[in-house]
């Protein structure tokens, strides 16, 4: 065959969850139907990763009560969609308590608690009198019409004994440990603390390997393979048992050379190469002797051999002997002569009757001899003579009867075993003995001899048969068991072959995806590192996984070199650089399609980074924020500045501590507010040229509106289970204003400008007047520009419109 082309890889987006990729690849693969059915079955049998089992999760709000530094209930609401949110606050304001509470809500514990020993853990419960700790997280689940809620409470003082409950919209509440994302928490833990970053770089090489290996998300396929492998081993072991037993069984059968069934069995078992003859085996097992089973047939025949019954033969012979005697006594007597004379007279009377009137004797010719008187006399004489002759007739008849009776006892069976053929032949010769007296004389002796011989032979044959069965019976059982197993193995042979093919295909798929995903992971890590390293001379040349997953020597290879010299640079990296590298390795995890978590919580990533790296980090987070909800807790204001100065959209909250342990989370800014803030600054600028007012200000306001539409569009898209990629593609478009507005207002992009404007007039506080303002914003990008009399008022009105459209009314569940 020249057909060695690799399996066609269809244009499946590798950003799909692994289970969906597997199904799509399978559908496109060329393989026999049985193999593909086998694989489909196995795919269905393994629990699909959470990304497929549940829509992606985004955090909508967090409420924390009586947890660590937080006393009274502290609540804040996030935009449940991709984007970056910074939660900033001084040390001790309660940021870390919030971050930890969110992590604990999901996992029941948190990495700080896990790391520290009892003495340093401190009180996890707020010190307020009567504190009842509680964390409530509202989650937006892609495709669900309403929010889900995750709640964690503590029945007693033990931190590690808590009660988590997850209630998905429209579903009954389940314990958090049974929530569909639980397995994914291990692989794609969406919580990242400063300490985690430090750990990754200083961790054991095998743990680093596992951390990266998990990100590749091939666990599902490996599990499918494990399932197939288990079945394959089972079938292979069964086939091996059949082979081994075949050898043993053959040896045992050969030990019974006299047993024809054993010989027949050996033939039926066939060779390992040719396989057994199941039909022959079935026949043997049904106890039917095969055609060539001579010895056994003879034994059976002998065993069934019954000779004549000597008593009956003696009786018949006696009777015959008596009849012979009677017959002999009447032979040559007047009785016989009388019969002859009666016959003669009968014939003469007959002659007279045929020749009426002719009275001459036909014998002597004497005329008138046959007179009427003679006829009458003769007739009377015939009757007398006949009476006289009956005795002779009777004797002769009885002789015939007795002879027949004896001969009737000479029964010859159809098959005669050679061992008895002489005796039977002697008996059979009785049929040809003409002389009844001779027959009567010899028959009893021959019959007795035959009967005795038969009885002896039958007894002996029966004993032999029994002896043979003694040895045969256990072999029969073994043969029956083996036949059943061999039949199962023969039946499973095509499945075994399919399993080999299926696993070969799966192995190739895993290798292919692994290589692709590792390459993509490496590229992402390098890209992130490039942003973060800024002017550091250290480059990340390679990220490799060395060794198999099961190897103890497996390790993550980070090829980092200083100033492009091939020198191991890990040792000379500053702590800030090490953290940046850890981020470069960690952040791709948040982006993988297999994670059900749409959010990533990062606690204080900025520590020990120099200003240039903070700028790079803002870029990295922003890029990640285009696909995921990134929530960053930080005490460092530089990160917020880095977002602002690079014109990157960001939502900012500030955590403040009031008196005691009352913590407040105050919204500071968000992408809509950022654009409005810029617009306000421009509106207030003195001596601004008219052209900037007519063209730039509307543009900034339009940006604020678009950001408000994007917010609403995400909410709509999520409620309807629409595709993220589609929305992202729409957001990236230049002419996005009307489609975005349509999506934000109606939940679909198909509505025209007049529809959009009519709906805007409905939802905006200023009605059609507000629609005019929206038109002005759009006019800014045209040569004529917008005519804005009062810039500050214009921006104010626009902020009202943005507020009205950014959160679509809740749908009734």
């Amino acid at each position: 065959m020249t057909d060695i082309a690799p399996p066609a890889a269809p244009p499946v987006s590798e950003s799909l969850p692994i289970a969906e990729i597997a199904v799509a690849r399978l559908a496109a693969a060329t393989m026999s139907r049985s193999v593909s059915a086998l694989l489909s079955e196995a795919f269905a049998a393994v629990e699909t990763p959470a990304a497929t089992a549940i829509g992606r999760l985004y955090v909508e709000s967090v409420a924390v009560t009586d947890y660590r530094g937080i006393g009274e209930r502290t609540w804040f609401r996030l935009a449940p969609r991709p984007g970056v949110t910074l939660v900033v606050g001084r040390n001790g304001a309660g940021k870390s308590s919030l971050a930890e509470a969110l992590e604990t809500a999901f996992t029941g514990t948190n990495s700080r608690w896990e790391r520290q020993d009892d003495a340093r853990r401190g009180s996890w419960r707020n010190l307020r009198a009567g504190a009842t700790p509680k964390v409530e997280v509202k989650l937006s689940v892609a495709g669900d019409a309403g929010l889900g809620q995750l709640t964690r409470t503590w029945p007693a003082d033990d931190f590690e004994t808590s009660t988590g409950v997850f209630k998905r919209h429209g579903d009954p509440a389940v314990p958090a440990r049974d929530a569909p994302w639980v397995a994914a928490l291990r692989e794609y833990r969406p919580f990242l603390s400063y300490a985690d970053l430090g750990n990754l770089i200083s961790d054991k090489a095998s743990r680093q390997y596992d951390a990266v290996d998990r990100i590749l998300g091939l666990g599902y396929l490996v599990e499918v393979d494990t399932l197939l492998k288990a079945e394959q081993s089972r079938l292979t072991a069964a086939a091996k048992r059949v082979d081994e037993e075949l050898t043993a069984l053959e040896a045992a059968l050969e030990d019974l050379p006299d047993e024809d069934r054993a010989t027949a069995s050996i033939v039926a078992l066939g060779s390992k190469k040719k396989g057994p003859d199941f039909t022959a085996l079935d026949a043997l097992l049904a106890n039917l002797p095969a055609a060539d089973d001579d010895g056994l047939a003879e034994l059976r025949l002998l065993a069934s051999m019954r000779g004549p019954e000597p008593e009956r033969v003696v009786e018949a012979a006696d009777r015959l002997r008596a009849a012979v005697t009677v017959a002999a006594s009447v032979r040559g007597t007047s009785a016989e002569d009388a019969t002859h004379r009666a016959d003669l007279l009968d014939r003469a009377l007959g002659h007279l009757a045929r020749h009426a009137g002719d009275t001459a004797c036909p014998v002597c010719g004497t005329a008138g001899a046959l007179s009427a008187s003679w006829a009458a006399q003769a007739t009377a004489q015939v009757d007398a003579l006949r009476e006289e002759g009956r005795a002779a007739v009777d004797a002769s008849r009885q002789l015939a009867t007795a002879e027949n009776a004896l001969r009737a006892l000479i029964q010859i069976p159809e098959q005669i075993p050679p061992a008895l053929s002489a005796q039977w032949a002697a008996w059979e010769r009785g049929r040809t003995v003409r002389d009844p007296a001779l027959l009567a004389q010899h028959a009893p002796g021959v019959a007795r001899a035959l009967a005795d011989a038969c009885a002896v032979a039958s007894r002996e044959a029966a004993a032999q048969l029994a002896a043979r069965d003694e040895k045969w019976r256990p072999l029969y059982t073994r043969l029956a068991t083996w036949t059943e197993q061999a039949r199962a193995a023969a039946h499973a042979a095509p499945r075994r072959a399919d399993l080999v093919r299926a696993r070969r295909w799966l192995d190739a798929l895993i290798k292919d995806l692994r290589a692709k995903r590792l390459a993509r992971f490496e590229a992402q890590a390098q890209q992130i590192w490039e942003q973060l390293r800024q002017e550091s001379g250290i480059s990340l040349a390679k990220v490799r996984l060395d060794g198999k997953e099961s190897s103890n020597l497996r390790k993550l290879i980070l090829d980092v070199s200083l100033d492009d010299a091939r020198a191991p640079a890990l040792a000379v990296m500053s702590q800030g650089e090490q953290h940046s590298l850890a981020l470069a390795l960690f952040l791709p995890r948040a982006r993988t399609a297999d994670s059900p978590f749409g959010f990533l919580l990062i606690d204080d990533p900025v520590q020990s980074m120099d200003p240039a790296k903070v700028h790079g980090l803002a870029r990295v987070l922003h890029e990640l924020g285009e696909e995921r909800q990134i929530i960053v807790f930080t005490h460092d204001t530089r990160l917020q500045r880095a977002f602002a100065s690079q014109e990157l959209a960001v939502t900012v909250f500030e955590v403040e501590r009031d008196k005691g342990s009352k913590v407040r989370v105050k919204p500071v800014t968000n992408p809509v507010e950022q654009a409005l803030e810029d617009a306000r600054a421009l509106a207030k600028t003195s001596n601004l040229p008219l052209a900037a007012l007519s063209h730039v200000l509307p543009g900034l306001c339009r940006l604020a509106l678009e950001n408000a539409f994007i917010e609403a569009a995400w909410i709509r898209q999520y409620r309807s289970g629409g595709s993220e990629q589609e929305l992202q593609a729409l957001i990236a478009r230049a002419d996005r204003f009307i489609p975005l507005a349509s999506l934000a207002l109606f939940g679909g992009t198909g509505h025209t400008k007049p529809d959009v404007e009519a709906e805007l007039a409905k939802v905006c506080p200023g009605g059609w007047h507000d629609v005019d303002l929206v038109r002005q914003c759009q006019a800014g990008s045209h040569p004529g520009g917008a005519q804005i009399a009062d810039p500050s008022r214009f921006v104010y009105r626009l902020s009202q419109i943005a507020d009205a459209v950014r959160r679509p009314a809740a749908v009734t569940p």
């Binding site: 500045r641 014109e647 001596n687 040229p689 900037a692 730039v696």
Partner: protein, 125 residues
């Protein structure tokens, strides 16, 4: 008293930055790096002013923030974003912010490179 300086050119400012970066001035490294950052900031502002003034007369006279906001509508948005980002970085480097140590040599060299690239991008727009 030093004489009142005349209008300074972009070329002069870049050369000053280079001189400071090359260590040709008797001063601490931190001071030289801050001095170079200052020169770069001014260079960038001149380039931005020229670009916006070429589009709308009078725009060079408004506040720096307003100018920067307008820039994205008068030049390629990516160029505007880069200008804004580098401007905010060199501004930070110019100040003795209480949390931050001065910029490193490598950083200022990179900024010098980015500013030079932006000057030509802004001149083309």
């Amino acid at each position: 008293m030093t004489p009142v300086p005349g209008p300074v050119t972009i070329g002069e400012l870049l050369r000053t930055a280079d001189l400071l970066l090359a260590g040709g001035v008797e001063a601490s490294a931190a001071s030289r790096h801050r001095g170079a950052s200052l020169a770069l900031r001014t260079t960038l502002e001149i380039a931005v002013n020229r670009a916006v003034e070429a589009q709308v007369t009078g725009l060079a006279q408004v506040s720096v923030r307003a100018r920067m906001l307008c820039l994205r509508f008068y030049t390629d948005p990516e160029t505007a974003r880069r200008a804004n980002a580098i401007w905010s970085q060199v501004c930070l480097a110019c100040h003795y912010h209480r949390y931050e140590i001065g910029p490193t040599h490598a950083q200022v060299v990179a900024w010098r490179r980015e500013v030079a690239a932006l000057i030509s991008l802004l001149a083309d727009s």
